[in-house]
Amino acid sequence: MKAKLDGVLTGVHYMDGDQAACEGALAAGCRYIAGYPITPSTETVERFAQRIPCVGGIFMQMEDEIASSIAIQGAVWGGAKAMTVTSGPGFSLMMEHIGYAIMTETPCVFVDVQRGGPSTGLPTMPSQSDLMQARWGSHGDYDLIALCPNSPQECFDLMICAFNFSERFRIPVMFMMDECIGHMTEKVVIPHPDDIEITPRRYTAKRPQDYLLYGPCDDLVPEMPEIGKGYHFHITGLTHDERGYPDMTVDAQHRLIHRLIHKIKNYKNGIVMVEADDLDNAEVVVLSFGITSRIADRAIIDAKNSGIKTGKIRLKTIWPFPDELVKNVSQKARAIVVPEINAGQIVREVERAATDRCRIISVPHYGGGVHRVETIYDAIIEGAKVE
């Protein structure tokens, strides 16, 4: 289906990533945000609070991030598309409710505008150090989708993907921005609603007597019931059977967790989004994401000018991770260089997928700024050396 006219600010704008993320959410049909103020994410909810009365929705500033992260799920079951927006410390508080959304299959979006950590860390400076937290932060086993934009334009574009994925798979989608992208102002083109494809909620058309709350479709995703329509359904964070009733058995746990993981795993190829250039003959490949990918692009240009065949992988989806692509690259390239604004998180995934087939060079940065171009360039030069 197409986007609704009233939420889409069609035109060419000059806005920052936080604001573009808000416009993306509105275009995607988000009509409910619950949030708690935290730098550097606040601009998103501030814009939403300003825009929403005339779009037809509601913003609620909650007492904390824990409340925000569950209020959005109440809103989703109340019929809205909803998201919450935060940064590191708030994201830490939200972890339990990522698990609740996974377990209850509640489609929603969590935005984390990453800042330096741990703890209060660097409130006003960038970082990419919450990526493992996004993947593994809630207890238990699960799979989910995390997206990582590298410009204000992409904050808009990928936000629509985030909502569409959340509805398609009935999962919480992590939208992993960083302070630099959030506070960066650039040109943002917002298309006409007719050019924005929206995934509708998978409401069931079955009658209550024919309907099973967690009876999955062929793609392992169950249809959702609407409240107040006689389904009298029961939602719980406990391990449950297909009726939604608690079932604390090994068997029920196995069936449920297996399905929750495989509804993502089986469709990984349709989820993973990467930007890949010059991989075929590359001596060195740089794998990066978010703001770091722009610094990497500069280093790649410089390396090419120095005569090194340099390829590029830019992750738009951090999770699921493109194992196959990295594996293929590792069979041909001499080295994969992984710059990231953390102590080395995604490089572990690269190592796992490459399994010693080529050299992996981690280029960590502890946060508060971005890499120097030269640092990444030097790593490319190092990777090009024949051992």
């Binding site: 409340a67 109340g78 409710h97 609740y100």
Partner: protein, 288 residues
């Protein structure tokens, strides 16, 4: 052999019986009072959702034949607020225990009162954390023995009606599960109030609290409720303290829903602010 129909069978998930509550527990009485009130109310079965947290009372959501949500520990209220905001026509009832609502969820409770979200909160207070084995709860009376206060609790407990009133609840009542009819009437009143309404339901926990404190059986506890409660409608909530083995007051303490609810206040405010804006419409919900 013909099977007699339970009078509340339309409102109960009978395929989930027997329930998990202990013999002598008061939660079942509280559920009956709620469902009987619901049957008497102006709400149909599809007009109401029930939201619970975690704990013994948190399991209520699993047994009622309503759209029902068993949420995370302490977070039933913010879940309920989000649902109410998205779907204002839905009657949202939170049914949970005092550990869930007043300890881990205590901050949400007072802020729901401040916002005056139109939800009804039914709080079963059994004076201890029951599901985890009887630890100190925010209402455990001083000197009462629990699993984590083996020599008696040395903290003063919360007085829930007092907190509810201070937070801004439009309706505050307390009854025990002995006072079945009054309780049912209070719930019936509470669910028809606009704004945050609150009913505290004092219940025995014979397996843990009463046993540890040598207070006898559930039946003797019911006798205690009969003999040691003073019905005092309109009493100051300050006087609603509960001391160990001392008489305490029950009744309706606050009943005034004249102030604007969150959504009413928002609409009244924005109707004026955006009176000249053609794109603005009074908010009626945000269903897709």
């Amino acid at each position: 052999m013909s099977k007699e129909k339970h009078p509340l069978s339309d409102y109960l998930r009978e395929d989930r019986m027997p329930h998990m509550w202990c013999p002598g527990c008061g939660i079942g009485i509280a559920v009956s009072a709620f469902l009987n009130a619901l049957k008497q109310s102006r709400y149909g079965q599809d007009d109401v959702v029930l939201v619970s947290g975690i704990g013994c009372a948190g399991r209520v959501a699993g047994y009622v034949k309503l759209d029902s949500f068993h949420t995370t520990h302490g977070r039933a209220i913010p879940f309920a607020e989000g649902l109410k905001a998205a779907s204002p026509k839905t009657k949202v009832v939170v049914f949970s225990g005092e550990g869930d609502l007043m300890s881990i969820g205590g901050n949400h409770f007072i802020h729901a009162g401040r916002k005056n979200m139109s939800i009804t909160i039914l709080c079963v207070n059994n004076l201890n954390y029951a599901m985890t084995g009887g630890q100190v709860s925010p209402t455990t009376p001083a000197k009462a023995i629990t699993a984590t206060a083996p020599f008696g609790s040395f903290c003063q407990p919360f007085n829930l009606p007092f907190i509810a009133e201070a937070a801004g609840a439009v309706y505050v009542a307390r009854w025990t599960v002995f006072h079945v009819r009054q309780l049912q009437k209070a719930i019936l009143e509470a669910i028809h109030k606009k704004g945050m309404s609150f009913v505290e339901i004092i219940s025995p926990c014979p397996t843990l609290y009463e046993r540890r404190n040598q207070m006898g059986t559930a039946l003797s506890r019911m006798n205690f409720y009969r003999e040691n409660t003073v019905i005092k409608n309109g009493a100051s909530t300050k006087d609603a303290v509960m001391d160990l083995d001392k008489p305490f007051i029950v009744g309706k303490f606050v009943d005034d829903d004249s102030k604007l609810t969150y959504l009413e206040a928002m609409n009244e405010y924005y109707d004026t602010t955006f009176s000249c804006d053609a794109n603005y419409h009074t908010y009626t919900g945000s269903k897709i």
